[in-house]
């Protein structure tokens, strides 16, 4: 082992420690009996029990899940259409604007996206009366808008890598172009669509800033609830909630990684 690889290995070790130690500590402290979150008071699972009795958290979690399921599905439909248009329809009017609009939401700072969508909803309400109140509907629309960009990019790059003569062959054999999309294109990009859906789902569950802008009174998503609690400092029941989320997502990601690896 030479000097260079020793350096690389130490940086890797430090980097992974940097990424994971904070998470591990949150998990450890979630089993802390003490109600002062930073002092160790013995092992206990009492905070998990409190979590289950907290209706506010359950309501917020339920709202977040509903938004995530709906917006991920809408984002997948719209994003797939956008990816198809960008990868397969070479020339159409307004293409440059379109591809610019697709990727921009991904890189736009959240405060700007949130503010601009809220102002849109307020303006629309003045003009048309819709949306009457902000909450599930407005957050879902906001999440769909920024996560469809991710789906579109994933689908587009899958399509770029795919042999276009597959679709031409189907057309050559008598498949009408629209039929060909369902016979050939969609089955082949299905893995990309699933990946896009999962990403959109997670992004929606994760979003705090945009939801804070476009939600109305009385509708708090899970991140909004967590934020309102942690603003006041470290708290043990949030440790427990964080542990559940971290474990749940880690297991999910690990499983899909194992499945994907076996298929390759």
């Amino acid at each position: 082992m030479n000097r260079q690889s020793r350096f690389i290995i130490s940086v890797l070790a430090f980097g992974y420690a940097f990424l994971y130690i904070p998470l591990v500590l949150v998990i450890v402290y979630s089993f802390n009996d003490s109600s002062i979150a930073t002092v160790w008071g013995g092992f206990s699972t009492r905070w998990y029990g409190e979590l289950l009795r907290n209706d506010q958290i359950l309501d917020a979690a339920l709202l977040s899940l509903r938004i995530a399921l709906t917006s991920a599905t809408m984002a997948t439909v719209l994003g797939t259409m956008a990816g198809l248009a960008l990868a397969r329809f070479r020339r159409f009017r307004g293409r440059t604007l379109f591809s610019g609009m697709i990727t921009s939401p991904m890189v736009m700072p959240e405060v700007i996206t949130g503010l601009s969508l809220l102002l849109l909803f307020v303006t629309l309400q003045q003009l048309t009366g819709w949306p009457g109140q902000r909450g599930f509907g407005t957050i879902t629309i906001a999440h769909t808008t920024f996560s469809m960009a991710y789906v579109a990019i994933i689908v587009q790059s899958r399509l770029m890598a795919m042999d276009e003569s597959l679709e031409e062959a189907a057309m050559d054999l008598g498949g009408h172009p629209l039929r060909v999309i369902f016979d050939i294109t969609l089955p082949l990009i299905a893995p990309a669509m699933i990946a896009g859906w999962l990403l959109a789902f997670t992004l929606s569950l994760d979003d705090l800033v945009i939801a804070s802008f476009v939600s109305g009174p009385g509708s708090s998503t899970l991140p909004m609830y967590i934020f309102s609690k942690v603003k006041l400092g470290v708290s043990p029941d949030i440790n427990a909630l964080a542990t559940l989320i971290i474990l749940f997502i880690s297991i999910g990601v690990l499983l899909s990684w194992l499945v994907a690896r076996r298929r390759v």
């Binding site: 890797l12 379109f98 890189v107 700072p109 102002l119 808008t145 469809m148 470290v234």
Partner: protein, 280 residues
């Protein structure tokens, strides 16, 4: 017909929910704040902009945001480059495992990851406990609510965004090139600066932009880890809007932030478009 429908659905959606909102932000930034519902006048005036540009506090806040974002970007690059390099040089099996461990935090709630540092950097948190136990200090060091905490929080949250594009370019790079350079008489470090670095540059630029742009508008990290006086522009925008209810000023803050970010955003899109073509 059906082709038009496939284009039109996402196109219209983006026009209404992405492009139109910006026009509205621009419109409202040129209004006067009034006490009404909604709290802005139907008139036009550049007052919000003149206020922003003359009040030193805002200029300092923008500047601080740029400096913090740039500092965090540099930190991510210094840590991320050797990591990406190391991962790219591993055997394929280890590589995919290591890569998974980079991506995993990205799927875990951003908010919770920032929250994790609150427990770590607290006066009685893990870091201070460790330092005092080691006898390095005998008083807790103030970590939370400092600029240092913001730097660490930004670097921690955005590190995966730096590593992934770097890894992508380094992995694609032909190792023979470095060996060829060494074969032709370059030292190890010369070969790095002559071959590896120039070839990795697209990844470096993409990674830096992916960290810098969102860090500029960051709201959660300065709020939770920074002190109340360490103002960053994302938080100012939020507070002007929700606390002071000055919609025109908040809109003007957003417009200027967007202007500052136009160049990096366009640059990033160009790199991503080129990358897409490159892999096709």
């Amino acid at each position: 017909m059906w082709r038009k429908a496939i284009i039109a659905a996402p196109y219209l959606w983006l026009l209404v929910f992405f492009l139109a909102p910006f026009a509205i932000v621009l419109r409202i930034s040129l209004a006067d704040p009034v006490i009404a519902q909604p709290p802005y006048s139907p008139t036009y005036s550049p007052d919000s902009f003149t206020f922003l540009l003359t009040d030193k506090l805002y200029a300092i806040t923008y500047l601080r945001s740029v400096v913090m974002a740039a500092g965090a970007t540099l930190l991510c690059l210094l840590l991320g480059f050797p990591m990406a390099y190391g991962i790219a040089r591993c055997s394929p099996a280890t590589r995919s495992m290591l890569l998974l461990l980079i991506i995993l935090p990205f799927w875990i709630s951003f908010l919770l990851r920032v929250y994790a540092w609150m427990g770590l950097m607290n006066n009685y948190g893990a870091i201070n406990n460790l330092l005092m136990w080691l006898g390095v200090v005998d008083q807790p060091v103030q970590l939370m609510y400092t600029d240092f905490a913001i730097f660490v929080g930004l670097a921690y949250s955005y590190l995966p965004f730096m590593i992934l594009p770097l890894y992508a370019t380094l992995e694609r790079m032909d190792l023979d090139l470095v060996e060829a350079a060494q074969d032709l008489g370059a030292s190890r470090s010369r070969a790095f600066w002559d071959v590896t670095w120039p070839l990795a540059r697209p990844g470096v630029i993409a990674g830096c932009l992916l960290v810098f742009i969102p860090a500029m508008g960051e709201y959660v990290i300065p709020y939770l880890l920074g002190g109340s006086e360490s103002l960053l522009i994302g938080r100012v925008l939020f507070d002007e809007f929700f606390v002071n209810r000055d919609w025109p000023l908040a809109s003007a803050v957003a417009v200027i932030l967007l202007l500052l970010l136009v160049v990096p955003i366009v640059l990033l899109q160009r790199y991503q478009a080129r990358d897409q073509e490159g892999t096709a």
